[in-house]
Amino acid sequence: MSMNEFDDKTLRERIAKNPQPALAWLAGALVLVVLELGRLASGIVQVGETTRFVLGGIASVPGSVEESVASTLGGIAGLVAFGLTVLVLLGIAAILVKWLLIPWTLVDRLGIEASTGVKDIVERVIVTGLLVVAAALVVLTPVGGVLEMAVSALTRGVEWVGSLPTITSRELIPNEGYQQPDGSWEGTFLGLSPAVAWALRVAVVYAYALVWLAWLWRGYETFREHYREADWTPRDDSINRFRNHYWGMFGLIVVIMFLVMALWAPAVSPATAEANLYQPYEHEFEYYGDDGVETISHGDANFDSRSQGSHTYVSVMSYDDYDRFHPFGTNTDGKDLFTFLAYGAQVSLVIGLLATVLMAVIATALALITAYYKGVADLVTIVASDSIISLPRFLLVLLLSVLFMQANHPVAEIYDGGLLLALIFAGTGWPLLWRAVRGPALQVSEQEWIDAAKSYGQSPAATMRKHMAPYIAGYMLIYASLSLGGVIIGVAALSFLGFGVQAPTPEWGRAVYEGRSHIDSPSWHIATLPGILVVLLVTGFNALGDGIRDAIDPQSEASDGAAGASGGGG
């Protein structure tokens, strides 16, 4: 037996040895990035703005604490509170910074002798100290101004990049124009009809997304073929299992379709959200009327394209009086339903995913902790979750959302109440998820490998992560995907009742609400299409959860074949 079946080299060394396939893949990826550079840059700008907003909010915390303390206890107490709050915030930041950015231990570098527990604390104190110095520099010295200038210059640069044309942009394949008396189209892409131009743009968007996916897959295959240490790893089996899992593949396709729809909402909509949904009276367009080419605002045009029962309606796949194409028809107030749904997909997905992820994280963490420590930790969690479960959930959600919105709480303003809804759903939903995985978690905690881990000194946190969490993950995926559907339906229901995401921000539930009385008329599409989309999306997430669960469980192997321990390989 040779000593070196697997040469122990790092990925970097392996790529340096044979760079050609990696470079080829990278070149392709670059081309793809360049095609959509503009959109990417605007996305980055958006993320940057959000980050700035969040950081600004956090930075204002010490000030507000100081204010409230100073108003009751006096100025000096306020200053002390200010300092303490700053320290606490920087301490939390220090944990993140240490975890994300500093892979080595400063304590060892500095040669400080202490026991392990003390070392961790000393380490955090040092990082906090460094952060305090950095924060003081930014706030008190001209360094802050310089930093500010650098950031704004960077932002301007990225914004300029964001203005570059992209392959999926509306300007490249415009679908808004008017028909001249001779039947030809003016203003659309290559003189095609708006319907065809719109379909073309949607096709380009999905094609681009699919090419990206294919290219990523190719990248994985390149890695597997040229650079991976082992010829075979268990992940290969997981992927093969998933590829043959048709229900899971169906879910994946549905979820990808929705993700693409949400991410490229501005590109797949026949009209822009600004013009069609938010400020219809401030955006005008041209149409060919009785007196030739005329100009009208979207708002005025919408008035004539309303779908209200059988008297006036613009149905699926049809044009309105102003030559605007509506693939899903129009709303009760004449706005384009497809645009509404595409932007609504963003809202639903963001709220749904945020709430579900928060819920799942809370439930998993609690399940691990209660199963590992049992006893009092378990009891306290049981009491807390039972208290929450015993309240009617939907009423609680309704109450909280009304309360926060009426009070104009700052949280309620972020994302038009979306963040608030996500937090409320997560806060009321985790007990159900925790209940669902508590049993499996307790079962795993009784396994001998937990004892084994303890016997060689593995820390409780790592034991939970490595030896317990994978066994809960399968259950969690299923239950989380189920409750994702629940959250989406819940948000829709809230909007349906008029309390969820407020108009004009599009939300699927509100479309169902608005269209419910026209369901038996030619305007049936207003309620039906969003309803079908909700069903599809929820089913898709459930199917994807099923597929992933089966794929990551090595024992679910349907074709128990040659992979016995006696076989070769490796």
């Binding site: 122990d8 396994q447 490998w449 004892d451 016997s455 060689y456 000194g457």
Partner: protein, 467 residues
């Protein structure tokens, strides 16, 4: 059977007190107790899983630990490697009392002591590859570089008789014996000196058992390991162990060199245990000692000697010495029934019915008496006491009845001080048995019968007479 007891050095609490032997001693356990607290929030009576155990383990030896299920042997093993925290007593590991360690020191010490678990299906995390499983202890202790760790793990897989390619496999692709080898490889990664083997072969096929046992013996020789071998398979213990400790209800009943203990047991419990080994020769005649009833609950161990409720060689009061053996069995059963009734309240009569092998959902005292004594010739004086007992049971409850029976039929074994010895009547304190050294090799046994200051017969004589 030879008379072996050397009763001169009686009442020794420190085994092998000679300081010259201390150098060999690796683990010193003194009066170790591990109690499990009650489930309720407010405690309750603890389960005394290990209740005052004292012994030494010498460097490089294999100490066997045998006993019935539930006698506390696994708990003792788990306490030795600090998977359970001790309630009292101390465990000295090369001089350090490990029951006082915590945090980083405990983690550091854990490298020295590892454990092989009983169930290979449950001791390996199915979601990790063999390589990850075996490497994890190294990762935890930050052993050298990742590359060296991988190399080391592959060598270890080789050592325990697996192939290096198995590094990337999953546990479910292996058989029970192979999985146990993986578990053994994991315990070896940190190069410990002391390994607790908790029934390492009892979940395996017989053919595989031999392979794993041989592997363990080879590894002991190669790495100079010290084993604590927990088992209930006595033939395996006899094969692999240098010394054996016999456990019953949280106590060590007898401890000594394996061959000596197997050929010439001193303690009545060891006698009964050994008599349960099946003989491969069907024509061989063997006197099996049948123990009556079940072991008492470790939550409520009996006063005096832990084995007193079932001991076939229990010391009987001299005034009843001539009572029929069968009648004694019935009297013991009566006491056990009363104890069960006292403890079970009205709810669990099943066990009583089981004891009687009979129908009554809730046996009355008359019913029990009829069941136990109808077929026996009960002498008048005994009958008198039984009647008194029945009255007490009806009027004042089981405890009073048990006290009466104990006063009359109990002996030093059940904690009743010898009546002749007037001064030691410390009314409430039951007399506990002591260890007596019963052979020149330092074998110790927990039984009043070895006490040289009284003239009780040795257990083997009594057993010969009674069975």
């Amino acid at each position: 059977m030879s008379q072996n007891a050397i009763e001169a050095n009686a009442t020794e609490t420190e085994p092998q007190a000679g300081s010259s032997q201390d150098k060999d001693v690796m683990v010193k356990v003194r009066d170790l107790r591990t109690y499990y607290e009650g489930n309720g929030l407010f405690g309750g009576t603890p389960v005394k899983a290990v209740d005052g155990v004292t012994f030494d383990i010498k460097r490089g030896e294999t100490l066997g630990l045998v006993g019935e299920s539930g006698c506390g042997k696994s708990t003792l093993g788990r306490t030795l490697i600090q998977l359970e925290s001790a309630t009292g007593g101390e465990i000295r590991f090369d001089g350090t009392d490990i029951t006082t360690l915590s945090g980083a020191e405990l983690k550091k010490w854990r490298r020295n002591a590892q454990m092989v678990f009983q169930d290979p299906d449950s001791s390996l995390n199915d979601r990790m590859t063999i390589g990850e499983i075996v490497r994890e202890p190294l990762d935890v202790h930050d052993w050298k570089t990742p590359r060296e760790r991988r190399q080391h793990v592959k060598e270890l897989l080789d050592t325990v008789g697996l192939q290096r390619e198995h590094y990337y496999r999953y546990p479910h692709q292996f058989s029970g014996g192979q999985r146990q080898r993986i578990g053994i490889a994991r315990t070896l990664t940190l190069e410990p000196e002391f390994i607790v083997l908790d029934e390492p072969v009892s979940a395996l096929d017989v053919s595989v058992q031999a392979e794993v046992i041989n592997l363990l013996e080879d590894l002991q020789e190669e790495f100079g390991l010290t084993y604590l071998f927990i088992a209930h398979d006595l033939s395996v213990v006899r094969h692999i162990c240098d010394r054996v400790a016999v456990m019953y209800l949280g106590n060590i009943m007898e401890i000594g060199p394996t061959e000596e203990l197997f050929t010439d047991p001193a303690n009545p419990y060891t006698h009964s245990l050994l008599s349960a080994i099946p003989e491969p020769d069907p024509s061989a005649h063997k006197d099996r000692i049948t123990l009556h009833g079940t072991p008492p609950s470790p939550r409520f161990p009996p006063d005096g000697c832990p084995f007193s409720t079932r001991c076939p060689a229990r010391i009987r009061p001299p005034e009843y010495e001539d009572l029929d053996n069968d009648l004694w069995v019935q009297l013991d059963t009566l006491r056990e029934v009363l104890r069960e009734r006292d403890r079970a309240e009205k709810s669990v009569t099943d066990r009583i019915r089981e004891l009687l092998g009979k129908e009554p959902r809730f046996g009355t005292i008359e019913g029990i008496y009829g069941e136990l004594f109808d077929k026996h010739d009960v002498p008048a004086d005994v009958q008198e006491i039984l009647d008194e007992t029945a009255d007490l049971a009806r009027e004042e409850g089981e405890i009073a009845a048990l006290d009466r029976l104990g006063e009359e039929f109990g002996s030093v074994c059940e904690g009743y001080g010898p009546e002749s010895d007037g001064e030691s009547e410390d009314a409430d304190e039951p007399v506990a048995p002591e260890y007596y050294t019963v052979s020149p090799s330092g074998r110790r046994s927990l039984c009043h019968r070895h006490n040289p200051s009284t003239n009780h017969a040795e257990p083997d004589q009594v057993l010969d007479e009674r069975h």
